[in-house]
Amino acid sequence: MNTIIDISWLQLALGLLILVIPIYILRRFKTKLIGSTVIAVVRMIVQLIFVGYYLEYLFKYDNPWVNLGWILIMVLVADFSTIDRSELKRDKGLLVSIFIATFLGVFIIDLFFLQFVIQLPNIMEAQYLIPITGMILGNCLRGNVIGINDFYYNLYRHQERYRFFMASGATKSEGLFPFFRSALIKSINPTLAAMATIGLVSLPGMMTGQMLSGSSPLIAIKYQIMIMIAIFAGTLLSVYLGIKFSLNVGFDRQNNFRTTILKKEKE
């Protein structure tokens, strides 16, 4: 296998020229998205440059504590992002619940795959731990946003149904069961769709990256299968735990829904 050809910064800048096409189309249709596009591209570049340099450092020193610290930072950022994008208020209890749920979702899956499947001598090894955690976490974040938003806003729209169940002798879990089910289905649907079409309509980023850096496609697909399973399991686990843990904050002692945790109370 050939090793990957490095891209110079100049070549990368040349690559940005292709943006002329989408910007032209966006302008032609007066979408008012040019500003957002420019901001998104700049943010993406700055963030990735920052991460690139940081990962260079992480990979070079490969200190388990530093690696763990980096993961905690990633989980913390995902935590705030989940709360914000789920349209919930930044309540301390919610932040703690979602943080623990996300961390556990990622940690359990990491432990299983790195320790028992890949059987790494050191599961804290940056080369494996950081990219695999990042892949799982990114997908957990998407699943959490869809699941937690659906759970609380669906409940808000159909509070009378939940109340009817509670007034008919349901425990809190029984009253919330249909809402929980709906949230889990909605959060996992994109991953299911991705699993069902992978390889046919898309070559995933991780596999592409591995092949570009010289891995055999057969090794790349094994990692890809593993990562898809990890994403599926991690997403469902973190959505389940996220909702479960946040219930203590989202309901009062009489098991009534606290709508004050929602950003948009009148949807």
Binding site: H158, E160, R161, R163, F164, F165, M166, A167, S168, G169, A170, T171, E174, P178, R253, Q254, N255, N256
Partner: protein
């Protein structure tokens, strides 16, 4: 069993005028009470307060002398059946949503067979309703009848009926009375329907109770 509202004041958040002021009511087993009052006078609010969905600003609600909070409230919710004005059992077929209530640990032993349930549906005039019909596609009247059948099968000690006859003809009203009136229960109903209120054994006018 004695259910008491004592000197209840209540205002919804953001509303300057309380919807209930110094409201008191005592209901005992065997009472079939019609709550009367204009729309917005607080009849439905009384049910919500009783079920603990809202908290009175002042006053207490008790069952046999014990205030309905925390564990007492959970136990009370297990002793009630509530027919809201617009029953929402969620997505799914009639069969799924109807029997879901009997999956609850507290209601399992009351689960009727499909045949028995359908017998009551037919009695209530739901002959053309199929088990696989989506609950959401049923009319208001059909949903109300399903709610009445649920109250019948749940067979709880306290019945809270919010406008139970609003979408029913007279023959059906008679059947509802036949199914639900029971001297071993407390029945609290909010109704504008003279047919219904004249068949209750007590009438309470909201804001000026005359029990």
């Amino acid at each position: 069993m004695t259910l008491s509202f004592s000197n209840i004041d209540f205002a919804y958040p953001g509303q300057a005028t309380p919807i209930l002021r110094n409201f008191s009511l005592t209901a005992e087993t065997g009472d079939i009470i019609a709550l009367q009052g204009a729309s917005g006078s607080g009849k439905t609010t009384l049910f919500r307060l009783l079920l603990g969905f809202e908290k009175p600003t002042n006053g207490t609600i008790t069952l046999d002398g014990k205030e309905l909070v925390n564990e007492e409230l959970f136990q009370f919710r297990n002793r009630t059946a509530w027919l809201p004005q617009d029953l929402d059992l969620g997505e799914g077929s009639l069969e799924e949503v109807f029997f879901y209530l009997f999956d609850f640990k507290n209601n399992k032993h009351k689960k009727p067979s499909k045949e028995k349930a359908y017998e009551i549906f037919e009695f209530l005039g739901l002959k053309d309703t199929q088990w696989n019909t989506g609950f959401r596609s049923l009319s208001t009247g059909q949903r109300q009848r399903i709610g009445i059948a649920l109250c019948y099968f749940l067979d709880k000690e306290v019945l809270l009926l919010d406008e139970p006859t609003s979408a029913l003809d007279e023959a059906s009203k008679e059947k509802v009375k036949e199914l639900l009136f029971d001297k071993n229960k407390i029945i609290l109903s909010a109704s504008h329907d003279p047919w219904w209120t004249t068949r209750c054994n007590k009438i309470v006018k909201i804001n000026s109770p005359v029990v």
